[in-house]
C-alpha cells in the first residue's frame, strides 16, 4: 500500500464523527480536500487536522440546523437552550444549598435535628438532582428535535408547557411526596424565577406556532434538503436533479 493510499484510508475513517446525512452529502468532498491539502509523503492524518474534523463533526451533531429564514424557530430553539442552561445553573445552586439540608429546610421554616438532617441528605440530594436533570434533558431534547424540524417536538413542547402552567398554579400539589417538590427549587428564591421560566415557555410556544415557523415543521419523512430545495430560487430543482446525476457517477461513497 502506498503512502497516499494509507493516508486516504485513515482519512476515510474521520468523517464517521459527522452526522450520517452530512457524511453522505459531503464525505467524498471533504476527503478530496484533505487529500489535496496533504503534503507529499504524508502517511497519517495530522493531529490538528484530525482534531478539527472531530470537533466540527461533534458540533454538527449537537447544534440545531435552523436556516436564517426560519427566524421564529431559531429564536424558539435559542430560548429552549437558554432554558436548559438556566436549569443547569439551578441545579448547581441547589447542590450548593442542599449541602446543608438544615439551611435548606430553614428557608421553608422547617426545623430538623442533626440526625434527621443527615438521614435526609442522601435521599434528598439524589431525588433533587434527578428531579432537576429531567427538565434539563427534556429541554435539550426538545430544542434539538425542534431545531431539526420535527413536528412532534413542537407538539410535545406545547403539551409540556401546558403541564408547566398547571404546575405553576399548584394543580399538582396533591402528588406524593409533598407536591411542593415540583416547584421546590425556584420557589426557594421567591416566585419570580418560576414565573420567568413560565414566560420563557410561553414565548417558545408562541414562536413555534407563528405562521413563519410552519414551513420549517413538516410531516415525518420530509427532510431539510427538501425544504431547502422548495424554498430555493427557480431552476434550482433542475440543478438538484443534475447534481444527483453527477453524484451517481461517483466511484463509491465514504
Amino acid at each position: 500500500m502506498t503512502g497516499q493510499e494509507h493516508l486516504e484510508r485513515a482519512y476515510r475513517r474521520l468523517p464517521g464523527w459527522y452526522p450520517r446525512e452530512f457524511r453522505r452529502e459531503h464525505g467524498q468532498e471533504i476527503l478530496a480536500v484533505l487529500m489535496a491539502g496533504a503534503p507529499d509523503g504524508q502517511r497519517r492524518p495530522g493531529l490538528a487536522q484530525s482534531a478539527d474534523l472531530i470537533r466540527s463533526g461533534l458540533w454538527l451533531r449537537l447544534r440545531p440546523s435552523v436556516p436564517r429564514s426560519a427566524r421564529t424557530v431559531r429564536a424558539a430553539v435559542k430560548l429552549m437552550y437558554a432554558g436548559a442552561v438556566a436549569s443547569t445553573v439551578n441545579l448547581i445552586l441547589l447542590l450548593a444549598v442542599i449541602a446543608d439540608v438544615k439551611v435548606y429546610h430553614a428557608i421553608f421554616g422547617y426545623h430538623l435535628t442533626a440526625a434527621q438532617a443527615s438521614q435526609l441528605t442522601t435521599q434528598f440530594i439524589t431525588v433533587s438532582v434527578l428531579w432537576d436533570l429531567v427538565p434539563v434533558a427534556v429541554r435539550l431534547w426538545m430544542a434539538h428535535a425542534a431545531g431539526r424540524g420535527r413536528n412532534w417536538a413542537r407538539i410535545v413542547s406545547t403539551l409540556l408547557f401546558g403541564a408547566a402552567t398547571l404546575n405553576l398554579t399548584g394543580a399538582f400539589s396533591w402528588l406524593p411526596p409533598p407536591g411542593i417538590h415540583l416547584t421546590l427549587v425556584p420557589m426557594a428564591y421567591g416566585p419570580a424565577l418560576p414565573v420567568l421560566y413560565w414566560l420563557a415557555g410561553l414565548a417558545v410556544v408562541w414562536l413555534l406556532w407563528r405562521p413563519g415557523s410552519r414551513a420549517f415543521f413538516r410531516p415525518p419523512g420530509y427532510t431539510q434538503a427538501q425544504h431547502q430545495a422548495q424554498t430555493a430560487e427557480p431552476g434550482h430543482q433542475a440543478q438538484m436533479a443534475e447534481l444527483a446525476r453527477v453524484r451517481a457517477r461517483l466511484p463509491r461513497q465514504v
Partner: protein, 106 residues
Amino acid sequence: MQEATFLILTALADGAQHGYGIITDVQQISGGRVRLRAGTLYMALNRLRADELIAVDREEVVDGRLRRYYRLTPAGTRRLADEAARLQAHAAVALRRLNLAGGMAT
C-alpha cells in the same frame, strides 16, 4: 460576521470555487495568516448554505474525486457588500484618528 466567514464569502465573490480552492484563496487573501482546515471550512459552508448566502454551483469528478463548486447567492453578495462597507467605514475612521493623533503628537 466572523473573519473566516468574511474571507470565505470574499473567496467566492468573483466566481464559484470548490473546497480546496476556497482554502488556498482564503490563505492568499489573508496574506497567509488564515489557513482554514477542512472541518472548519465545511462547518462554515454548511451554515452559509443553511442561511442561503451560498449555493452549490456545480459538481465535477476530477481524478475520481468529487469537486463541488459553491457560489454566492444574491443574498450572500448583498451581505458581503454590506459587511465590506461596514469594515471599510470603521477602518477609515481608525486611520483618520490615528493620523490625527500622530499629527498632534509631533
